[in-house]
Symmetry: D3
Subunit: 193 residues, 6 copies
């Protein structure tokens, strides 16, 4: 996890393969957490449904002034498997919901991989893959400013100004790693026919 005082803008470059290796020298499956704004040009967007639905609404369709970003890269399936990546992203969405609800009693509604508080959207989420790794980006709004005008958004600090963002992010990361490890262990204890 990066120091949250050193902010970095998520611009789509972070979801490219081997970014963590290139940027931090971290080799292998990894989960990197950092804080910063978000501004993704249409060319770098992964979600084709977003693009076709919203391309006439704004130049930049995904943006925000301040977010917690989770970047996950996974090499455990060769070749990489986007379907497995999306199973993990849905698990991550459950984990974020549970941790935020438990730690700060903020009620969230989960639709697919999106979390809503009183019908306002709190996050962005996407997965993609190359031949050798799959990647996840999960961004949680800290504030709602900077989000495109046509999106009803909300940030964690809009609801509760006293949230310890680093602690929250770290617990989410740990719960996610624990869940994935538990899945691995389950596979290795089960008889098959």
């Amino acid at each position: 996890m990066n120091d949250f005082s050193k902010k970095e803008c998520y611009d789509g470059s972070q979801i490219k393969p081997l970014w963590a290796l290139n940027k931090f020298g971290v080799s292998g499956s990894s989960l990197v957490i950092f804080r910063g704004s978000m501004k993704i040009p249409q060319d770098e967007m992964i979600d084709m449904q977003d693009i076709i639905r919203e391309k006439d609404l704004a130049e930049i369709l995904i943006s925000g002034d301040d977010c917690i970003h989770f970047i996950i890269e996974m090499f455990d399936d060769q070749p990489a498997n986007l379907k497995v990546a999306y199973h993990r992203l849905h698990l991550l969405a459950f984990i974020v919901q549970k941790v935020v609800e438990e730690e700060y009693e903020i009620e969230l509604v989960k639709k697919g991989t999106d979390l809503y508080h009183k019908e306002k959207k709190m996050n962005v989420a996407i997965a993609t893959s190359s031949n050798s790794s799959s990647k996840i980006h999960f961004g949680i709004n800290i504030v709602s400013t900077g989000v495109p005008a046509y999106v009803k958004a909300i940030g964690l600090q809009d609801i509760n100004g006293k949230i310890d963002l680093e602690k929250l992010a770290e617990r989410i990361g740990q719960e996610f790693i624990k869940e994935i490890n538990a899945i691995d262990n389950d596979v290795m204890k089960s008889r098959t026919t």
Copy 2:
């Protein structure tokens, strides 16, 4: 979903490949829900860790007098992938936790694929696979009787006698199907490199 008034004992035969086809003529990926007791001989147990940990404790290690059983068979990966099955089982555990908490305000703690109410275990959960399909069994205790003596168990009706079991089971099934369909849709909207 089967009529809950016609009870059937889960004895391990239901987790074999093509059981739904053989029993009900249901072809393809399926989710079958039924109500009944549970009694699994050691030979039919899938979880080798359970077997080695508990084989000296009782003749029958997994049992219960009355449960809601979910039997899921999946053919969408060829050859079948046990790791994907366990991702889905972990998603199912989240869904059961959420539905039970939301509908009946029963607090549950999730550890891996097990759900606990006040440190008492409420379910069993396992996945397995053959070459062409993977299977999940998720059993929720309705009562705690019949569970092996060394397990601290609890059932839904031990907490709240007024739960509409059929409605609960059906909502869990629907949420699970919705989640898996959402994952499929996510895969089909994402650009890859």
Copy 3:
């Protein structure tokens, strides 16, 4: 299936991943049929053997004035499997041959994925894949004009001017979907060891 009166040129862009989603908002596995000319720059060609064999013969190696185009995208294998795509393309070639022979008594000889009428080539066929989807293009000549000079080509209307092209295309599409569904069903009924 698109209205055949609105012609569209096949230029290689249609075989890119997520084209149907981007163009028509159609998400998931899809079969799109449209009518129009064909003009593929060498950079967009998939078939490397065609390129090396013919690159000195013409600027544009694959072209035609009027064709029926089938564009198929498949997401059912993750990661996408080009070998499965080619099995399907070979099945499609059998289906086209059978339908054309049965409906219009036009004798065709099938060599791999190419169909010939009296040693004149009636179609082009290729498959490709990205990490998350595989794609097929199958183009049937309606007329032989516009095809590169060094290719002996023939079109459906060169043989029989009265062919109902839309009906023919639709029946081919339906037979293909029926065949793929039958394969899925076969997988889900078979015991494995």
Copy 4:
């Protein structure tokens, strides 16, 4: 291909993995053709839909007095892929139809992997797989005797007594191998993204 004068009964043992290696010392992917009767006990049947549909109709559900049998084993996908096997079985059904129609002008209707002459069934077809190989059995009736009473069957010699069975079988085998090789070549010539 075996000498057709040495008949052998197809009893389900031939579809087990490594049968060709065990029986003939033939290692690797193989296509074995032999002639003989067919008598498959329910325990050895692969098709669960047949079993549930017909189990009350007769003791032996699949039988015949004299057939041409094609046994195919494929190791090219590791782990073995039943879906690929069924694609090949559907290709084989097209090939048999085409060869029989072309060589002997016997009209056949293909439904899935079954071939009918005037609504009478001419063959049986199934695929299965273990972890390391997939297998196909395709049996063509030579005569209709010995087929279960409730099946309307027909054999090649019921239609045309002069068919050269060995030549026919060999041509079918060669066309099948040619088709599979063509698919392999297609994969190895195609650019992917």
Copy 5:
């Protein structure tokens, strides 16, 4: 690694899935080394070529009075991949050859996965797989007694009575693990297209 003073006979049960979990409570990918005799009934043999070649020569085709046994189970590919297992077995054969040559200056010739000293066979080697794990057995003769009469065998102590067997076995195990880890690291550092 097991204490070499507690000998255990390799009888084929050790190559079954989850043996290390069942026997030692070791979950996950594992390499177990033990010392003991070897006696494999034909029913438990994996190598069908050995069986068909030698079944008339003796009751027990694979045996030996004293061997070092390596049992490897691998869960990293889901579903398990026998081809990957054999790549690893061939790497292991190179490693054994190199370590034995370097440490004790014993010249060995490697043919596939077999090692020969002056045309006498020093080992047995096989791999197999279930849906969720693949397994390797590599047995090195310590003495040549007990080996079937028709095999020209040799053991490590027949060549050099002073070999520290535990040290040798441990170094082989460590080199193998190092090689597999290096492969994993290589995958995670490489750009793909």
Copy 6:
């Protein structure tokens, strides 16, 4: 194998998919050997760890005046599997070590896929993959000139000026093909559960 008198520079273009088809019309899995210099721009480098470790040391990080180059393309796994490619590259490194040691009594130390003579590096090695094929480049220094200044390198002719390079290269190639074929045969003889 190419004529060694016609030298060709390895510039990274040779590791692209379908290079052998495009350059020589060789379709399918192939092993091409040629002699020449090596000069790889950072953009064409595959090894991200090399790039981040050494990017400040020189413009060109991988170079040499004269090398034997092995370019391998493999289509046998669909989709292509980089992990399998690296298993093969590690096998190739063992083979090169063994052949060089046996034929010319040159002692080499193998670390991963790198070979050292007296702590001087003798080769470069990398693998990569696209969706449909995986590729290996293995380059053995003939001389140490032209290698980046910060690398302690050595070439075959620096040690022994009389090495028959073509014969050596050919034997390495043949041993590699023999090893891969042996693996294929092993897969096809083994019973699985």
